[in-house]
C-alpha cells in the first residue's frame, strides 16, 4: 500500500520528463538549523537514489607533519559508529542492494551511498551516524594505516610516472598546503596519533561544514522529513563536542574535562548513574541545558602565493621506458573570472583528436605518444598541468619545444570563430553528459554549492560563463598565465 504514493508521483512526473526533454536540473536547497546545507533533486527515470555528503575538508586542511591525514581519516569513517559495529557499516548498504564509497581531494571529502529508492532512509541514518558519532578503534587505525600505505604504493610508487603529482606540487607551491599530495607521505601516515583523530573530527566533521545532496527517485517532502529527523537533530558547536564526549569518554575523563561546567554536581551519586543510564540527549538536557550550539569556526588556509617568479626545471629518473615531460603553470582558482578562459584555452590545445597539441605534436610531428594539457580543478589558486610522453628516440627538450610552440601561438594569435564554436559544442556535450547518473548530479550540485560560495544553480547556467569567453579573453589569459617564469618543468627519464 505504501507504494501507491510513489507510483502516483511517478505517473505525474513521467510524461514531463519525457516530453520536455529538458536538460535543466531542478532542485530544492535549504539549510537546517544546525547549518547543514541540503540539496534535493527529484528524478524518477530509474528507481535509484544517490545519498551523498560532501565535507568541506581535504588535504589542504592538514597540518605539515600530518600529510595524508584527511584521506586516511576518510578510510576510518567506514569503521563504525556508536550504533554500528565495526565492519558492519558497509554491510547495511549491501544488504539493502546498494553500494557505497568515498573519495578525498585537496579540497573536500565526498561520501556516497547508491541505493534502491526504497532505501533512502537507510542512507540518511548511516550518514547521520557518521557525522554524529563515528567510532574509531585502535585496531581499525592500525589496519587502515597499512591499507592506505598499500594504496599509495599501488597508485603512486609502483606506477610508471606515479610520482609526478608529488614532484609537481611540491615545486609548484612553496607555502600553500597544496604543496603536498592527498595521499601524503609514509612518514606522516606513521606519525598520526589519537589526538589527531579526535581534533580532526571535532574541527571538520561538524554540521556547518557539510552539504547533503540527494538525487534520484525520491519524494521531496518525505525526504525532507527524514532529513530533519536524522540530521536536524544533530547538535552543533560546544553541544556537539559534549555530546560526543559523553558517548566516548569514561566517566572519570568526562568529569576531569568538564569540571568547571558541572561543578560539584559531578560528585553526586545520581550523576554517575545518569551518565551511564540516560540517553545522551536527556543527559545533555539535564546537565548542560545552556551549552552553546553556536557553530565553531573552521580553520582554512588563507595563503595567496600569486604567480611563480622563476621557471623551475628538474629531472626525475624513474622505472619507465618512455621519457616524459610534465609542466605546471600557476593558474587561477575555480571560482575566478579567468578560470573559464583558461579551461577553454586548454580545450583548444588538447580536447579531441583535432585539438592543436594532439594534431601537431602527436600526429604530425610524432614527437609524443600522448600529450595533454588541462586545468587541475582546485578551490584555491590552482595549476594547469601539461603532460607528454615522448615518442621513442625523441628527446624531452624536443617534445617540450613542440608544446611551447603551440602555447606561444595562443599568446600571439586569436582563435578562430570555428575553433571557438567547436569548443562551445564540446562543453555543451560534456555538461549534458554529466547528467547521466544520479550520483553525478548529486556530486555536481554539492560541488557547485561548496566551491562557488553557494552558487548551486551553476549546474544549469555555468554554460553561459563559457559562452561568454571571447577569443580576446583566451589570448589575454595565455599571456597572463602561460609564461615560462610561471611554470615548473619536470623531465622524466628512464633509470640507466
Amino acid at each position: 500500500m505504501k507504494n501507491n504514493l510513489l507510483m502516483v508521483f511517478a505517473l505525474i512526473l513521467l510524461p514531463f520528463t519525457i516530453k520536455a526533454q529538458s536538460t535543466k536540473i531542478d532542485f530544492v536547497e535549504y539549510d537546517l538549523n544546525n547549518g547543514i546545507h541540503v540539496i534535493l533533486h527529484e528524478n524518477h527515470t530509474t528507481p535509484v537514489a544517490a545519498v551523498t555528503l560532501m565535507y568541506h575538508v581535504g588535504s589542504k586542511n592538514e597540518n605539515e607533519g600530518r600529510t595524508g591525514f584527511a584521506h586516511f581519516f576518510e578510510h576510518l569513517m567506514f569503521e563504525g559508529t556508536q550504533n554500528i559495529e565495526r565492519h558492519q557499516y558497509d554491510k547495511y548498504v549491501e544488504k539493502a542492494g546498494g553500494t557505497l564509497n568515498a573519495n578525498t581531494s585537496q579540497d573536500r571529502t565526498f561520501y556516497y551511498e547508491l541505493l534502491p529508492s526504497n532505501q533512502v532512509e537507510l542512507g540518511l541514518w548511516l550518514e547521520s551516524e557518521r557525522l554524529l558519532h563515528a567510532k574509531v578503534e585502535n585496531i581499525g587505525i592500525e589496519t587502515q594505516r597499512e591499507v592506505v600505505k598499500e594504496e599509495k604504493r599501488q597508485r603512486m610508487d609502483n606506477q610508471p610516472y606515479g610520482s609526478f603529482q608529488e614532484n609537481i606540487f611540491k615545486r609548484a607551491y612553496s607555502k600553500h598546503p597544496y604543496k603536498w599530495t592527498v595521499i601524503g607521505s609514509m612518514e606522516d601516515l606513521n606519525a598520526a596519533e589519537e589526538d589527531d583523530y579526535v581534533n580532526f573530527y571535532r574541527t571538520f566533521y561538524v554540521p556547518h561544514n557539510v552539504t547533503l545532496s540527494i538525487a534520484g527517485d525520491i519524494n521531496i517532502e518525505q525526504t525532507k522529513a527524514w532529513i530533519e529527523q536524522y540530521f536536524g537533530s544533530i547538535p552543533n558547536g560546544d553541544k556537539l563536542n559534549v555530546y560526543r564526549d559523553k558517548e566516548f569518554l569514561s566517566l572519570e575523563k568526562f568529569i576531569t574535562k568538564y569540571k568547571s561546567d558541572i561543578g560539584s554536581v559531578a560528585n553526586g551519586e545520581n550523576f554517575s548513574k545518569d551518565y551511564n543510564e540516560l540517553s545522551t540527549e536527556a543527559f545533555l538536557d539535564k546537565y548542560f541545558p545552556k551549552v552553546s550550539e553556536k557553530p565553531l569556526p573552521i580553520p582554512r588556509p588563507d595563503i595567496k602565493e600569486g604567480l611563480l617568479k622563476k621557471e623551475i626545471v628538474d629531472t626525475i629518473y624513474d622505472n619507465i621506458q618512455l621519457s616524459g615531460v610534465f609542466m605546471a603553470y600557476r593558474t587561477p582558482e575555480l571560482n575566478h573570472k579567468d578560470h573559464y578562459a583558461v579551461e577553454m584555452l586548454t580545450k583548444i590545445l588538447s580536447d579531441g583528436k583535432s585539438s592543436r597539441i594532439h594534431k601537431n605534436v602527436v600526429e604530425k610531428q610524432q614527437k609524443a605518444v600522448q600529450a595533454f594539457i588541462f586545468p587541475f580543478p582546485l578551490e584555491d589558486e590552482g595549476i594547469t598541468l601539461t603532460f607528454a610522453l615522448a615518442q621513442m628516440g625523441v628527446g624531452v627538450d624536443s617534445v617540450q619545444a613542440a608544446i611551447d610552440v603551440e602555447i606561444q601561438k595562443m599568446k600571439t594569435e586569436l582563435v578562430s570563430e570555428i575553433e571557438l564554436k567547436k569548443i562551445q559544442n564540446q562543453i555543451e556535450n560534456d555538461i549534458i553528459s554529466s547528467f547521466s547518473t544520479m550520483a553525478g548530479i548529486a556530486e555536481n550540485l554539492a560541488q557547485y554549492y561548496t566551491y562557488y560560495q553557494g552558487q548551486t544553480n551553476l549546474i544549469n547556467n555555468e554554460i553561459d560563463k563559457y559562452l561568454a569567453v571571447t577569443p580576446e579573453d583566451i589570448k589575454r589569459v595565455a599571456n597572463t598565465y602561460f609564461n615560462t617564469t610561471n611554470r615548473v618543468v619536470l623531465h622524466y627519464l628512464p633509470k640507466q
Partner: protein, 708 residues
Amino acid sequence: MKNLITIFLITLSALSYGQIDRTKAPNALPNPAINIPTPKIVKLENGLKVIIVENHKLPKISFQLFIDNPPMLEKSKVGLSELVGDMLGSGTVSYSKTDFDEAVDYIGASFSSSGRGFFASSLTKHSDKLLKMLKSVILEPSFPEDEFERIKKQYLAGLSANKSDPSAMAGNVGNVINYGTAHSYGEVMTEATVNNITIEDIKAYFKNYFGPQNAYLVIVGDVTEEKAKTIAETYFGGWPKNESMELADHNTVPEYNGNQVYFVNKPGAVQSVIKITHTLDLKPGHEDVVKLSVLNSILGGGSFSARLMSNLREDKAYTYGCYSSIQSDILKGEFTAGGSFRNDVTDSAITQILYEIDKIASELVTDAELDIVKKSKTGAFARSLENPQTVARFALNTIRYNLPADYYANYLKKIEAVTKDDLLQVAKMYLRPKNLSIIVVGNEEIANKLSVFDSNSNIDFKDGYGNSELKLKAAPENVTAATIINNYSQKIYMTDDAAVIAKKDKKIRFISRQYEGLMVQMGAAFELTTSAAYPNKEAMQLTVQGNVMQKEYFNGVTGKTESMMGAVDFDEAKIIKKKETSFPFLQLYYLSNEIYTLNLLGIDNIDGKAYYKIEIKNSLSEGIVYEYYNVENGLLEIKESIETNEKGETVESKVVLMDYKMYGSGTASLLLSSKQTMNNNGNVIELTLKSVDFEKSHPKGYFEGKMD
C-alpha cells in the same frame, strides 16, 4: 492515504530531536518495481541486425557497430585486428583523417573504434552529421599509408611503455600460460608481430571480416524506434554483404598438474602484482553462470565483506584491494584472483588467497554470506539499468549467445534460487585449487620465497611477454670466466702448485676410462671405453654383452667411425675440430686457444645449487655450449650444448657430472666425475666410471682402431 498520514506524523515528530531511535537501522519501503524495457530488434536486407533502445532521459544518442567475429588467430601478426580498429576513422574517401577529427570535435561528439567496430555518441541535434561520418567509416575507408605507419609507431611506443607496467606484464603471462601461444587468447602482441603487419593485411582484414551479415548496429537514446529504423536503412542499408568466414581452429588449451609459479622480474618494484588463474569450461548463458557469479561475489567480489577483501585488506592490511573473477566465454572461460601487495607480504598474500580458494571449494558458505550477496547483486542489477546501454547489452548478449528471450527478465529469480549446496557443487566442479598458475610480477628479491608454492619447487622465470627467461644473478666482481676455469683445472689436478701440475703432465700422456652404461628408456646395459692421448688423439668403443657395437678413433690426422653398418671416414669439418688440442681435458685450453670465446653469464640456481654459468662459443662451429661450475666446489657439474645437425635440426644435449672422485695414484692421478647422465634430445644414458688407466704412452696402433 495511509502514507500521507505517516509522513505527517514523521514531520511532527521531527520537531523535537531525541525521539528517533538511532540505535537501529530504519526499515525499507516496499521494493520499487524493476522495469527492463524491451528493445526493438530489426534486420535489414543486407543482414545487419539493428537493436534499438529508446530513452529520452537526455538529448543524446549513441551508435555502436559490433562485428560479431569469432576469435581468430593472428599468428605472426598479433595486433592486426586492433590496428584495423585504429585505422577506422583514420581516413575515408570523403574525409581525410584531419577532416574527420575536425568534424567529430566540431559537434562535440565522441568516436572510438576497435577491431570489432565502433562506438559513437553526440547530442541528438547533431546526429545526422555524425551518421554521415559513420557511414563513410564503414562504406568507404581509405586506409592511408602514412596513418598506418604513424599508428604502428604508436603501438611500438605503447609496447615499450608496457615494459614498466606490472599489470600489463601479468596479463600477458596469464594469457600465455592459460591458453598457450597457439590459441587466439594466448597470442601476445610484441614489437616483432606489429612490425610484420602491412597495410595490405589491414585492407584484407577489413574486406574479409567487416560485413553486415555478422554485424549489429545498436542505437540507444533520444530517438523513436521508427526514426532509428529509418536511420539504419538510410545510412547502413547500402553496406554490401561480404563472404562469410569460418571459425578458426583452436588448439586445446594447456593443462597443468599441480600449482605452477611464474615470476616476472620488475626491477625497483615496491609491490608485487599477483595473478592466480586457471581456465574453465563455461559458456555464456550456461545454467551455472549465475551460480558462479554468486560464488565469485562471495569469494572476491568488489565489496569490503567479500572473503578476499575482508581477509587480505580489512583484516591483514596486505593490500588496497584483492579480487577474483570467473568469466564465461564461447571458447574457454577463466578464473582469476589477485591484486597488488607490498613486497614483504607477497608470500603471505599468496598463502591467504590459496586458503580462500581452497576453502570455498571445500566448505559450504554461510547463510549470512549468501543472503548479503543475493541482495547486493539484486541491487546492482537494478542500478545497472540507470544506464540505457545496459538494456542494449542485454539484447546483444541474448542474440549473440542464443539465450532464452527471458534470460535477463528472469535473472533476479535465478539469483534468488541459488542455494549453498549449489555453490559448493559448482565450486568443486569449476575451481581447481590444486592446479593453479601463480603469476607474480615484482622485485626479484622476493622470488626465492615463492618456490614453496610450486608443486615442483621450481619457479619459471618469464619476461613481460610470457616468454621463458633464464634469470641469473650477477657473479661477484672478482670472479671471471678465467678465474673459474683456472680454479677448475687446479681441482682436476688436485693441486694449485704449477710444478706438481707439470710433473703430472709428464706422467700422464694417455688416459683410458672404462664405463658401465645404461640406456634408460630401453633399459639396455652396455660398456663404454673412452681413451685419449696427448695432444689430440681420441678413441671410443661401445660393447654390448661382449660384442663391439660401435667404435670411433682419431689419430691426430685422420679418423673413422665403425659400426655394424660399416666404416666411415671422418669428414674435413670433423677433422678440423678434432685436431684442436684437448688433452687431458678440454677446459685446459679454453683460455689459451683463440678459437674459444668465453662469457660468464652470471650465477644460476638449479635444484637449489648455485652455479657460475659460462657460455662457450667455438669459432669452428655454429653451436653454443653452456657449462655450469658449482659455486661452492668449483667443479663442472652440468654441460649443455645446442647444435644444429646436418638436417638443420636443433640438437640439444645435457650432461650432468656427479660424484667427483680421485682416480689413479701419486702423480698419475686426476679428480674425475664417477657418475654421468647424458640427455641427448630426450634419450637418456647413465654412465658409471668403473676404472681409469693413466699411462706415459699409448699402445701402438691404438688410435688406428686396435683398441683391444
